[in-house]
Assembly symmetry: C2
Homo-oligomer: 219 residues x 2
Amino acid sequence: MKIAIKEDILKEEDRIGAENRREFLARGVAAFNLIGSPGSGKTSLIEAAYRELGGELAIGVIEGDLASDKDTVRLRNLGLPALQINTGRGCHLSPLMIKKALPEIDLAALDILIIENVGNLVCPVSFDLGETAKIGLISVAEGDDKPTKYPLLFREAEVVVLNKIDLVPHSDFDREAFYSGLRAINPAIGVIEISCRTGEGVEEWGSWLRERVSSPAGR
Amino acid sequence: MKIAIKEDILKEEDRIGAENRREFLARGVAAFNLIGSPGSGKTSLIEAAYRELGGELAIGVIEGDLASDKDTVRLRNLGLPALQINTGRGCHLSPLMIKKALPEIDLAALDILIIENVGNLVCPVSFDLGETAKIGLISVAEGDDKPTKYPLLFREAEVVVLNKIDLVPHSDFDREAFYSGLRAINPAIGVIEISCRTGEGVEEWGSWLRERVSSPAGR
């Protein structure tokens, strides 16, 4: 019975995710579900997207955090419309949380909605928020073995952003080991190497988003 | 009804956690539940403990990972008895997983059992595995705002280990902001600053463990 109830909940969540997806499509918004560990640089990556594309595309943000509105304040100070969802003890954003937030966002005015999930490489992957694509973010400081040890995200993401490449000389990160581990999980996945701190790779990140927005219905 | 069932499951988990705790006490083992983000350096911290204390105290390890036995192999190569638990899609170790693993470990021969939880700052905090103490691990690369954004762990841990302090000069980490955020969550918590890479602070980490082991029944 426990299992049946769990399945019912998951089915209901999937239904709501599909509803969100129809809403995004109807309004012509490309929605990106940004998933990465705590401190991998999710908010910095959104800031970089805004600096790169803010002049040509309208970007909005939903911020998921257990507590605090630090990141939302940070983005609003930049001029980005951002909405905070606090999950309390919740380890992920759910399709229902997104559905409830959408009426507060002027979707018709947006080209891109970036949903920054709770910092977590595991639980967020299991929920389809209705996104156009999942973006997997990982930082050099986390080590080159993360795809092997946390394969879920790397299987489902459409692209992996490898952040903090300025730390490569100051760490034991082995690029070859990273790529071979990642390719074993997902041979075709694209990787964007970036340093939000130095600006390296930010142009490529902007190009990826620009291209992806022009084909919002998916690959 | 959903809620009632969830509560029943949690109560059952708590009961098993208490059983594990009695087992650890009966065998004179201090058990540490090590919780931190992916890539914060959990396995490196265990290696450092072994290098520091391996000559005087008997240390064993339970390794929790979604997939792979990379860390267990790494620890066994050092000479540390380590047991792997793979959780699949599971975002935390549960009291039941630990209970099932215990018969495979010669507890009577150990002074310390370190349980490396799945890399995750959220879900593992909610489960009492029966540990003597929770150890919160965070790395400089994750940023100084983590206590504010992920308060759960920092409320419940007995000590916080701040790893990768060799990266402070190469990052925007602000020690003052970190400590003031942490103290707002948990005014009394101890902090051990460490670099598993350079060896800085490892002696203090060893001293903390040594002292904690001599009073396994709690503070």
